[in-house]
């Protein structure tokens, strides 16, 4: 055998790799020369230059859940003639999203970016915001802190727990066993808030209901979610809701077991024609259109025209409640509508002073009611009395 085979092999490898890479590049370059380059500049000879908005999702666009709700929002806002949007899905929370944002800015000319997943903010959005001070980064999650974060960063989020409160009312009225179920991904404040609001809403019409909570551990685990739904049904739960990225499995499994569901993120009514009571949905089209209007009027985050922290509930049009299902009786509808009206006129207080968690501790000092915008609620790490389950792992 050839004794200097190993050396020969390595040189071949090096040469091979180099030439491969170059050849690839050369071939594609010829392509660039011949065909028209993919136009990222829109040929708008019209009155205003369209605003280019970039949307980034952490999962698939059609997951019947969180990412889809944002994609629907993006589709909605793109209907405005002076908005041009680009989107990228399934972008993990690593350098990938930094590069995605950078590409949108450099290649597509985006001037405002909407990174929609929670984990994009720190460090990715912050890094890019420092690099591109002229571009606005509007993150979904409510994490902006005045003075700490760059001026061209903004946050928005909706108090979807308001809709969960209403769903809780409807659920309590529909439940015969008094046992509700909540399948959640992880015990983070936004999820806990939904669980608590759901339970408080339910208890406001029936003080004896309890909510069983199961944490699956991650945002999208279809098998575990199905197992959780099944074991809850085994335990006598007859209304299930959830906070996972894609409620599809849970809604369909519940329908198979013949129990009720309330939905989340988007409208899953078509998946459970008999059992779908109502659902808590986002209305991102509304939110994005508002942002688009503000930008068109020349307002930006940097010049203070756009507030850095934009949050809202029913009143501001951030959410909607799914249409009531066939099994929802009139009494439940009346109660829920009444509560919704209170949310809209601002008189509803979900987190009243003296609230006890499910270990008996008082988590909100007596006499101090917390309004929806209160930042205390953003740090929630307890489960209200009536919830069966624990926060810690």
């Amino acid at each position: 055998m050839n004794t200097n085979r190993s050396f020969h092999l390595s040189r071949r490898q090096v040469v091979r790799g180099l030439l491969a890479t170059t050849a690839f590049g050369v071939t594609s370059k010829f392509g660039t020369g011949c065909s028209s380059s993919t136009g990222s500049q829109s040929s708008s000879g019209s009155t205003d230059k369209p605003i280019v908005m970039g949307f980034i999702y952490v999962g698939a666009k059609d997951d019947y859940g969180y990412n889809q709700s944002h994609a629907e929002g993006k589709a909605g806002v793109s209907k405005l003639t002076w908005v041009k949007s680009v989107e990228q899905a399934n972008v993990p929370e690593t350098t990938d999203v930094q590069e995605a944002m950078r590409n949108m800015i450099e290649q597509d000319g985006a001037t405002v970016i909407f990174p929609t997943s929670f984990g994009y903010f720190d460090p990715h959005v912050l890094k890019l915001a420092q690099e591109y001070p002229e571009v606005q980064f509007v993150h979904c999650g409510g994490l902006y802190q005045e003075g700490k974060h760059p001026k061209n960063v903004g946050s928005y989020f909706g108090f979807i727990d308001e809709a969960e409160y209403l769903a809780g009312i409807v659920a309590a009225k529909a439940s015969q066993s008094g046992k509700l179920g909540f399948i959640a991904a992880k015990p983070i404040p936004q999820v806990l808030r939904n669980i608590n609001s759901f339970t408080l809403g339910a208890r406001s019409v029936n003080p004896k209901v309890s909510t069983q909570v199961i944490f699956t551990g991650d945002w999208s685990l279809p098998v575990k979610e199905a197992e959780a739904a099944n074991s809850m049904a085994d335990q006598g739960v007859d209304v299930i809701t959830c906070h996972v990225d894609s409620p599809k499995v849970i809604v369909e499994t519940a329908e198979k077991r013949g129990i009720f569901t309330t939905g989340y993120h988007a409208n899953q009514a078509v998946l459970a024609p008999k059992g779908y009571l109502t659902g808590a949905e986002w209305d991102w089209t509304n939110v994005y259109s508002k942002y688009a209007e503000m930008i068109r009027a020349g307002k930006t985050l940097m010049n203070g025209g756009i507030p850095h922290l934009v949050r809202g509930g029913f009143k501001e049009g951030f959410l909607k409640l799914s249409a009531y299902g066939t099994e929802v009786n009139d009494e439940a509808k009346k109660l829920a509508d009444a509560a919704k009206a209170k949310f809209i006129d601002g008189s509803m207080v979900v987190y009243k002073g003296g609230l006890q968690d499910n270990t008996g501790k008082i988590v909100i000092p007596a006499g101090k009611d917390l309004k929806q915008q209160d930042s205390e609620l953003e740090k929630m790490n307890w489960l209200v009395a009536g919830v069966v389950g624990k926060v810690g792992s």
Binding site: A20, K29, T95, N103, G217, N381
Partner: protein, 362 residues
């Protein structure tokens, strides 16, 4: 004359086969895109633009290539010994956890010291993780491919458990993470670029690995054992020690990749550490025929493919899965081309000497 022409032929073969493989896979991908409704030539242009078109894009490619160089070594090194290990993901995760723990423990010390500490922790944790695979193989005969695969899952479960429990930073409410490493201790960028030092680590590691395997007695022993274990044992080579040593080194490279991910990108350990750099690294190793120097170039190529994913989505409206199909096609075609060495007639020796004047003898 014959000798020259045969070397000439093999070199030409070595160059043209991979290029042909790449071109062919591009053609296949172009057909795929055409069937999906996109203009193949526009797609090619976009890929080039996003991967190599200008300095900014190329940096994107390099950033993605950096972790691949290190994780590829986790498969390439043991492969020389005849072991197939696919535990890169697990070693990376464990190395990241170790690095974060070290970084937090050493807080306050001079930054260089902290970084060295983190790197050492990453190396040791990753090394022990894959070293265990080697030990299991040597002492209990457990198949290393399977055990390293299982350890991947176990490492990820461990990460999730630690990050949401014992090591959790209470203020990281919405995305459970460990405490962040102070900014001063983070790994910086190569001056003038936005690529972090992880790239340099990767390049250096690959060069060291190459010299280790090709130029040292240790490497020679490893290759011999990889060729024929029984002969190696008869020759008195300490196969067990070699196995564990190589596995430790392999794991430490992936562990270093974990440290880089924590110290240069994330700043803390959380679920994003599990980003599939491991599996891509396995393929880089195989395509580079387990040669560390070639792995650097293949890593750049794969980095380029990955970098083009975004533009395919935004400009051509192709779904995100397209880049997976692209990756798969390239790997499959290049792997097929491996089998063509020495088989294509144009590269074969001709039995008669072709009548070229230069070879005419007196």
């Amino acid at each position: 004359m014959m000798f020259n022409s045969s070397r000439w032929r093999t070199t030409l073969e070595a160059i043209s086969l991979p290029i042909a493989a790449l071109l062919f896979s591009l053609v296949l991908f172009g057909i795929f895109c055409a069937l999906a409704g996109a203009n193949p030539f526009a797609v090619y242009a976009s890929i080039y633009k996003a991967a190599f078109g200008n300095w900014r894009s190329f940096q994107n490619t390099l950033i993605r290539a950096a972790p691949l160089m290190l994780t590829a070594l986790c498969t390439a090194l043991p492969a020389r010994l005849g072991l197939i290990i696919i535990g890169n993901e697990g070693a990376l995760v464990v190395g990241g956890i170790g690095a974060v723990a070290a970084g937090l423990a050493l807080q306050g010390a001079p930054p260089t010291l902290v970084q060295i500490g983190m790197a050492l922790a990453g190396l040791i944790c990753g090394g022990l993780w894959i070293g265990a695979v080697g030990a299991l193989r040597h002492y209990r005969g457990v198949n290393e491919t399977i055990s390293s695969l299982l350890l991947n899952y176990i490492a990820i479960a461990l990460l999730n458990h630690l990050v949401s429990g014992p090591m959790k930073d209470p203020t990281s409410l919405n995305k459970p993470s460990t405490y962040p490493i102070p900014d001063v201790d983070m790994l910086g960028k190569i001056p003038g670029t936005r690529v972090h030092y992880g790239l340099i680590y990767g390049l250096i590691a690959c060069v060291i690995a190459y010299f280790l395997i090709q130029r040292t007695t240790f490497g020679f022993a490893a290759r011999t054992a990889g060729g024929n274990i029984r002969a190696a044992r008869i020759a008195g080579l300490p196969v067990g020690k070699l196995t564990m040593a190589i596995c430790f080194l392999a794991g430490s490279c992936a562990g270093l990749a974990g440290m880089v991910e924590v110290a240069a990108v994330q700043g803390r350990a959380n679920e994003s550490l599990n980003a599939n750099y491991g599996y891509s690294g396995i393929l880089v190793a195989f395509i580079a025929r387990h040669n560390p120097l070639a792995a650097t170039l293949v890593a750049v190529l794969v980095g380029g493919i990955l970098a083009s994913g975004g533009i395919l989505q935004r400009v051509h409206n192709l779904p995100d899965a397209t880049v997976l199909v692209f990756q798969g096609l390239v790997f499959l075609v290049v792997m097929y081309s491996e089998s063509l060495y020495g088989r294509l007639p144009i590269f074969k020796e001709r039995s008669q000497v072709s009548g070229s004047p230069a070879t005419a003898t007196v």
